[in-house]
């Protein structure tokens, strides 16, 4: 498979070649497809009725015709030819979960080049896989959070979130003392001096469940759990049906109702394919534990920004890590534990 770079031009269309293992490396997750299909087969080897077949054919033809006309045009410059070549390859690429390392590299390089062609600026994009012996977990100290919301700002900047719509991964809920976790009465958009008398603060975001219901419901397997426990989304494979948003009991997922816009000078150029790379309209996104940082050994941006030390992040498999100490020595709990979603995000108090 790897010796055949532009596989979608081959004519023996229905003979998808077999590869030994699933390239996602996950043998316990929801990756059921043992035969890695190339991008073309992933699109074409689907039983469909005449109507949807015509729809797909038309869409493909339009894009293809556009690409062909630009790449074959005599007046078109080299750059626009390259651009349409990239568009072609990106349109027919496969699901990231099924890509080989080489294919991952290629798509990352295409995206970097395409950004350079559009803006003239260079970005760094990584496709770094999960490491062995790592399972990420998070702990949140309710007694320490003062509601300053520095984490929210850091998250927006780190993850290239759309500025205008103010869509954010983190929510800080202001709750009244003595009433427990009452989300109905909590305020997640307060603006007064904090901490307010008689209130406490708790943050929610994606909890990276070990048994994630959002992954189960995805009809196209565009979201899955990585080996290090991070639940990720392939933004290019997501069809925007928002089933996952409905399935998440924690309100952890966000939808791009419009094309996200980030001012060019504010774009975080250290990106990861599954993390903070620029999204498009109509796809899901959410907290990825800052995958572009955490896979490099750094803490997520929210942890680094928190001035109170209420946020702890670490490797659950390392018996000497601080997160393990918290789990073993503090009274920890999770939200809606009875659902069996097994979130890897614990709350505790002093």
């Amino acid at each position: 498979m790897s010796n055949n770079t532009k596989k979608w031009f081959s004519l023996n269309l229905n003979q998808s070649k077999k590869s030994a293992t699933c390239s996602c490396g996950n043998n316990e997750g929801s990756c059921e497809e043992k035969t890695a299909k190339d991008g073309y087969s992933q699109v074409m080897d689907v039983s469909m009725n005449r109507r949807s077949a015509f729809k797909k054919l038309t869409a493909g033809l339009l894009i293809g015709a556009g690409a062909v006309s630009t790449s074959c045009s005599v007046i078109g410059g080299d750059e626009s030819k390259e651009k349409s070549a990239i568009e072609w390859d990106e349109y027919f690429k496969g699901n990231y979960k099924l890509m080989t390392d080489k294919e991952k590299n290629e798509t990352v390089n295409r995206l970097v080049r395409s950004y350079e062609l559009r803006t003239g600026k260079k970005i760094n994009m990584s496709s770094k896989d999960a490491e062995d012996d790592v399972l990420f977990g998070y702990a949140f100290n309710i007694s320490k959070c003062q509601g300053y919301m520095d984490c929210v700002n850091a998250c927006i900047e780190e993850n290239n979130q759309d500025r205008a719509s103010q869509m954010q991964y983190i929510r800080i809920h202001e709750m009244e003392d003595g009433k427990g976790f009452n989300f109905e009465e909590a305020d997640d958009n307060y603006y007064h001096e904090v901490p307010a008398e008689g209130h406490f603060y708790m943050g929610t975001q994606c909890f990276h469940c070990d048994n994630p219901p959002c992954v189960e419901v995805c009809p196209v397997q565009a979201t899955w759990k990585e080996k290090d426990g991070i639940v990720v989304i392939d933004y290019d494979w997501c069809i925007g049906c928002r089933y996952c948003m409905a399935a998440c009991p924690y309100d952890g997922r966000r939808f791009n109702w419009k094309t996200p816009e980030v001012p060019e000078e504010e774009v975080n150029k250290n990106q990861h394919y599954l993390g903070n790379r620029l999204r498009k309209k109509g796809v899901m996104e959410k907290c990825t534990f800052c995958i572009q940082r955490s896979r490099k050994g750094q803490n997520p941006a929210c942890v680094e920004a928190c001035p109170t030390g209420a946020r702890t992040f670490g490797n659950l498999l390392d018996p000497d890590s601080t997160i393990r100490w918290v789990l073993e020595n503090k009274k920890v709990f999770r939200l809606k534990e009875d659902l069996g979603t097994e979130p890897k995000f614990w709350y505790y108090m002093d």
Binding site: Y148, V152, I323, Y348, D350
Partner: protein, 212 residues
């Protein structure tokens, strides 16, 4: 005949039950029941990674804290104190200095002590005029400025225990070893240790509009 029939039905039902039992108890898909089991199970063979990721915040000068079984790094303190070394000014006893400089602007004029009450604490609880370059404990043993957590931990035992473990305080390095933590005085001004009230860093005007 009747009894035979009943016996046969009973046998069939028993057989079905056994079959159901065997099928329903088959755990082929998942190895662990919950995430705690998974953590316990998979960390048994945990190996410290041979090549740890490059040290984050490597430019910070650090000292090593060793408390019981835990050992981690904290930022070095002395080089961060503006007027260290203290004996450069404190050449004479305080009484003499005060008399000599009565007409000059007082040093440390901006320090206000708002830490416990004056019955419990004053300057001399932590500082001593006999040894200005060091702190001293309740029993007058010397404590280096770099290890000021030893001074705080005399009263704040619970916080100290949580800090050693990692439940209190902020991590400066990454999640991967070696651990680099803030020490007490990096977040709390020892003279006014409480966090101050302030306005949140963000207010979402769009959210207000959406909810109207």
């Amino acid at each position: 005949m009747k009894y035979l029939k009943i016996a046969i039905i009973k046998k069939v039902m028993l057989g079905t039950l056994i079959c159901l039992f065997v099928i329903s108890c088959k755990h082929t898909e998942k190895k662990y029941h919950n995430v705690m089991e998974k953590i316990e199970g998979e960390s048994v063979n945990y190996k410290v990674p041979s090549e740890s990721p490059s040290m984050i915040n490597a430019e910070i000068k650090t000292v090593l804290v060793e408390e019981g079984e835990t050992a981690f790094l904290i930022p070095e303190r002395k080089s961060q104190i503006t007027s260290y070394n203290c004996v450069e000014c404190h050449t004479e006893p305080l009484r003499v200095l005060k008399q000599k400089q009565a007409d000059k602007k007082a040093a440390h004029w901006d320090i206000k002590l708002n830490h416990a009450n004056s019955e419990t604490m004053n300057c001399a609880t932590c500082h001593t005029s006999n040894d200005m370059g060091n702190l001293h404990s309740l029993t007058s043993s010397t404590i280096d400025f770099n290890y000021s957590h030893k001074l705080c931990s005399q009263c704040h035992q619970k916080e100290f225990k949580d800090w050693k473990g990692g439940a209190h305080g902020k991590q400066l390095g990454g999640w991967a070893p070696p651990r680099l933590s803030n020490t007490c005085v990096n977040c709390h001004n020892p003279h006014t240790p409480q966090f101050e009230k302030r306005w949140p860093a963000r207010f979402n005007t769009e959210k207000v509009k959406e909810r109207q």
